[in-house]
Each structure stands twice: as C-alpha cells, then as structure tokens.
C-alpha cells in the first residue's frame, strides 16, 4: 500500500533497505540476499557486480517480485519505488495484482537468454503489443504502430516485417533487441538488465551496450545492470555495487571502485581480469583469488570472504561480520581492515 513517503529522498527512484531473501532447501534455510541496501536515482546506471552465489540475480528478481515462493520469500526489508504518479510504494508489501500493474510499466526487466525469454510460438509483434495493450490500453493499429516505433528506436532494420517474425528467425543480437523493445514498450522509469550481454558475441555485446546507453539518455531511464564482467561495468556504470555471498561488500562511484578499491575481494577481482595490450615483458601476473565461492549453506563465520583474503586478521575477520562503513564520500565498504588496504595501495594510487 502506498505509505506516506516512507522517508525516501526526493531524487531517488528506488530505495532498497535491508532486503533479505531466504530460500527453504532440503538442507535448511539459505539466505541468498542478506541485508542488502542501495538506492538508485532517476536516469542513473547502477551496475551490480558479482559472481555466482553473490545474490545479484535474486536481488533483482526480488525487486520485480519474481522470486519463486515457495521456496523463496522476502524475509524482511523494504523495496521503495516512486511510481509514475509520484507515490512511493513498498514493493515488498504489494499484492500480486498491484505488482502486475507496475511490472512492464514502471519497472521492466531483461534477461540473459533471449531465446528462452521470448515465447517461441508468438511473433515479436504479438508479444510487444501484448505489453502495450496491458499497460497503455491501446490496441490494434495504434499498438502496432507503437511497436514499430519501438523496434525502430532499437535500430532493428525493417521493423514492420520484424513485427511479424518469430524469435527463432532472428539472430541472438536481434532477439536481445526485441526483448529490450518489449521491455521498454511502456517507457518504464527503471530497467533491470540481468546479464543481458553475457551470452552474446563481443561485437554484438558492444552494439547492445551502446544501445542501452543511448536509450537511457533518450528515455531518461534508470538502469540496474547486473554483470560479472568488469569491463562492461566500466563502460556503463555511474555507480557500482559489488556483492559477495549475498551481501554488499563495496559500493560507490565507478571511478572510485576501479581506482580506489578498498575491499580485498574487489581488488582481487580487478587483478584477476586479464587486460589487453599488457606489456608481456613487464609480466603482469594474473593474480587469481585462491579458493572457491562459499556455498550458501556453509557460509564462513564473520566476513564471508575471509578464507580467501590476503588481509585476513585472525580473531577479527572470522568472528565479526563487518558493517558497511563509509570510507570516502559516497563510497562504502564492508571490511574491518579497509584502512590497512588503503595504505597498502598507497603507491598504486599515486600517494
């Protein structure tokens, strides 16, 4: 139900406070998302970076209330969204009917595998028009025209013919565009993109990224972009949020995360990505993070990353769960030893 503002900052479109999502499994209850908080402003791009088990996908599904329950459920927290009408609603408390009016309309989502997200027995046109009809009340020729406009906006050649194509008749990149067209047909204020380019070739990926950037500025949309690819994150992020084992471990402006990382996991990630054009003679060693991502059933005590951390301090890191602290304006980190980390990076950061 729409409350009295919930105390959300005026410039924020979405505020997530202390979100926890649990799953009931045979081996007990698992917290896929543990006390995650973040916000996103209008027109901003927030990139959520994480590997498998980080909880990044579940977080976005929770925002759309698409978490399968059972076995999953939003155990606690608030998901505040400022709707088209200016009212602030807590998505976690809405019922299905209310949520359906928002989905596709105020918030839209695109996924990794366009082939399985598009219904193979309907044409692209049918699927786009369905969304338009549902949310904008238009139908027939008006809806078709809007659909064609959308495809054109997305740079799909011969849009009128494409409206009559089936998903299997299109290439991977085209299908991804079609899916984006469907998602954006109602000009949502927020687009959630869950690894939309991971399954695409690198030249197609470049196209799609350019496209999302362009659409964002043309439509004034906010984007939550989930990826494990740091290069893609650098291309489009205004702000970055790094997740590990269901928690946010670092968040801040893109440049700060890349140039002044304070969480050893973030540093490890940055060091383990091979970069083009390196000087072979200087031998930039690919420093891998040792060990594996922990199973959510057996999270290490204290900081979940400590078994793999070069800055691990016995007695502290394995007993206390660090809180998110601000290490610089707008830059937060969940690490007890972030000051030591900052110091050790002194010369790399030119200090």
């Amino acid at each position: 139900m729409s409350g009295a503002g919930h105390g959300m900052a005026a410039r924020n479109l979405v505020e997530v406070r202390d979100l926890t999502v649990e799953f009931a499994t045979e081996d007990g209850v698992v917290r896929a998302v543990d006390g995650v908080s973040f916000h996103i402003e209008r027109g901003e791009t927030l990139v959520v970076v994480g590997e498998s088990g980080s909880g990044k996908s579940v977080t976005s599904l929770a925002l759309m209330r698409l978490v399968e329950s059972p076995p999953g459920r939003i155990a606690s927290g608030e998901i505040l969204l400022r709707g088209r009408d200016g009212a602030v609603r807590d998505l976690a408390r809405l019922d299905n009917h209310e949520m359906r009016q928002l989905r596709g309309n105020d918030i839209a989502m695109i996924f990794q595998e366009p082939m399985t997200s598009l219904n193979p027995i309907y044409t692209i046109g049918d699927q786009i028009i369905e969304a338009i009809r549902l949310h904008q009340g238009k139908s027939g020729r008006a809806a078709f025209a809007l659909g064609v406009d959308m495809l054109e906006l997305l740079g799909i050649p011969e849009p009128r013919q494409r409206m009559r194509s089936y998903p299997h008749q299109m290439s991977g990149g085209m299908r991804q565009r079609a899916m984006i067209a469907m998602a954006l047909s109602c000009h949502p204020a927020l687009l959630i993109a869950d690894e939309p380019t991971t399954a695409l070739d690198v030249t197609i990926q470049a196209q799609i990224i350019e496209l999302i950037k362009r659409l964002q500025s043309e439509l004034g949309m906010a984007v939550i972009f989930i990826t494990h690819n740091l290069g893609v994150a650098a291309e489009i992020a205004d702000r970055i949020m790094v997740m590990y084992a269901g928690r946010v471990v670092e968040a801040g402006p893109a440049r700060a995360i890349f140039h002044q990382p304070r969480m050893p996991y973030t540093i490890g990630l940055l060091n383990s990505v091979p970069r083009l054009g390196i000087d072979r003679a200087a031998q930039h060693e690919l420093t891998a993070i040792p060990g594996n991502v922990p199973s959510p059933h057996h999270l290490p005590p204290g900081c979940a990353f400590h078994p793999r951390c070069a800055f691990f301090e016995r007695g502290r890191c394995d007993s206390e769960i660090p809180r998110l602290e601000e290490c610089a304006p707008g830059h937060a980190v969940r690490c007890l030893r972030w000051r030591a980390v900052a110091q050790s990076r002194g010369h790399e950061e030119g200090r």
Binding site: T203, N229, A234, L270, V273, G277, N292
Partner: protein, 327 residues
C-alpha cells in the same frame, strides 16, 4: 622461430556440414563451418584461436582431434597426415592429442567417480601395471591440477565449476599427451576462477612442455596465454600474428573491431569505439569474396570479387585483406 618442422601443420582445412537440399534443390547446400584454414603450431608453442559464433573455431579444434571428419585438407601431426588415417587407426594419435572442453558440467560423466574419470585414458591405452599403479598415477595427476586424493571417490556433481574443469584437465593429461586442444576452457567459469584455471594451464604448459591450441572468444585471456594468435571469421582466417603484435598493431579491420569491442575494466578509457553494424552472416550462404565485407567499415567494390589470399605484411604477421592503405 624454430627451424624444425612444426608439431602440427594444418593445410587447407575444410569442414563442411550437410545442410540438406531444398525441395527445389539445385544441389545440396552446406554449412561451411571451416573454409580453407591453414596454420602451424610449433612444439611447446601456445596458439590462440579467436573468433565469435559462426567463426568455426570450435569446429577447427574438433576436426584437428578427428572428432569430426574433415571435408578436405591436411592435418599433419608429427609428420603424419591425420586426416588420411581411418578412425580405427587413430588410437596412437588419441594418446598424444587431447581436448579440454568448455562446459565443466557436461564434459564429465555424472555417473562416474573422479578416479574412474581420470583413470579412463590409462585403461584405454593400457598404461599402468594394474589397479594400484593406476590409482597412484591418478593421485599424482590430481595433485598436479590442484586437487587431492580425497576427491577421488566423489562424483562430479559434488564439485564446483572450477574444480570440475580441473578434473577435466586431469583427464586430458592422464595419458601424457603432447598436444592439448582447449576449447573455451574458462568461458563458463566465474571471473575469479577463470584466473585460477588460466594460471594452471600456463603453469602446466611450462612444466610439462605442452603444446596448446587455445580456442576462445575473449581476446584479453588469449593475449595473456598465447604466443601467437589466429583470428577467424565465418570459417576463414582473417589475420594471424604474434600475440602482442596482433593486439597492438592489428592489420585487419575485423581484428581492429574485435579489439575495440573488448570492454576494458577502466572507466577512464579513451579511444573511439568501433561498433560493427549488422549481424554475423549465415555460414550456409557466406558473402562472396571477403566474408567480412558486409560489416567492414573499409569495404570497397573489389572486396566482393575474390577471396583475399593471406599475405605476410611483417615477419610472422599475416592478413587476409586486399587493402594496404588502412591500419
């Protein structure tokens, strides 16, 4: 460059698949997955084979291993043309050339224990004097890839993606091969695990003197591990050169676009991005002449006339492009 003959010399390789004839058939149509590919790998060298979907790179790898039969061409391994040898006589070769696959979930038999998976090459080739001896060898190989004997009795589904990939590598190394074809060995892994496995391969190659054909779509990873890189597009080779030379000084428009498309983990990155328009054409009906011309920003009329022959433009640097006035 060594004077001795290369370990593997691929010449004029073509692998075409039957695409079936239409109702109004004017002859059968083919998927030209690999269309006239030639390259050589010296002993101990790492050759990176890079391309996107439809480039034919996976097919090249599988054809070289004779998991697919070539339509035409020669695959000369240690002086013997493997392409001419019948399947039944390939056992010797199979001991010396092994694959590593992309999908750590699908490349291990879910019903076999780790010990049996890694021991299978030993059994097939009669290596080891009995069960105990084989077991000892398995333990040794597992240690080599960073696993331990306590993993031997378990099933694949009990391991993470990175660990499964290590098991796959152990299996590939069991019979002591000289040549490994690694087909996208890290693409399906998490970023932090990719680095682990790349480092492992790098290390194993050094320790065991392996020759490696590293197939991938990620140029950054390939540049890190490969000595030389071959770039493929739609079944043909566009360019080949020593790794750092190719990445710093590309001479083919496709390579340039590919390099430009690789996302760089640096928000301050400068430089214009070349974004190719259009989609990758179908390999059943590739464009005439240069297959890249439909998306090439530098294409001219003559590009459609003939398939560009590969030309050496600098020592060890070959490109398949008729233009010399660009790049």
């Amino acid at each position: 460059m060594s004077e001795t003959a290369p370990l593997l010399d691929v010449r004029g390789l073509k692998t075409w698949f039957d695409a079936g004839s239409g109702v109004f058939a004017r002859g059968r149509s083919h998927v030209k997955a690999v269309d006239d590919v030639s390259f050589a790998i010296g002993a101990g060298e790492v050759l990176g084979l890079v391309g996107e979907s439809g480039s034919g790179k996976t097919t090249v790898g599988r054809t070289i291993l004779r998991l697919i039969d070539p339509t035409e061409g020669a695959i000369v391994f240690k002086g013997v043309d493997i392409a001419r040898v019948p399947q039944s006589a390939l056992r010797r070769y199979r001991r010396e050339a092994q694959p590593i696959f992309q999908d750590p979930f699908a490349s291990l038999n879910p019903r076999m224990r780790v010990e049996d998976i890694v021991a299978e090459p030993l059994i097939v080739h009669g290596i080891g004097s009995g069960r105990a001896d084989r077991r000892a060898r398995v333990v040794e190989i597992l240690r080599l890839v960073g696993l331990s004997s306590e993993h031997m009795g378990r099933y694949p589904h009990e391991f993470s993606g990175g660990q499964r990939q290590r098991i796959g590598i152990a299996r590939a190394l069991a019979a002591g091969p000289e040549f490994i074809v690694a087909d996208e060995p890290v693409s399906a892994l998490d970023v932090s695990i990719q680095a682990q496995v790349v480092n492992l391969l790098h290390d194993l190659r050094r320790r065991l003197g392996l020759t490696l054909l590293f197939i991938a779509h990620d140029l950054a990873v390939v540049e890190y591990i490969a000595d030389r890189i071959v770039v493929m597009y739609l079944g043909r080779i566009m360019e080949s050169a020593p790794a750092s030379e190719l990445c710093r000084n590309p001479k083919h428009p496709y390579t340039e676009a590919l390099l430009s498309a690789v996302p760089v983990p640096d928000p301050d990155r400068k430089g214009k991005r070349i974004v190719l328009q259009g989609d990758i054409p179908s390999p059943i009906n590739p464009p005439s002449g240069c297959v890249f011309r439909t998306r090439c920003p530098y294409a001219i009329a003559e590009c459609a006339a003939r398939v560009p022959a590969p030309r050496e433009v600098a020592p060890g640097h070959v490109k398949a492009c008729i233009r010399d006035d660009i790049l």
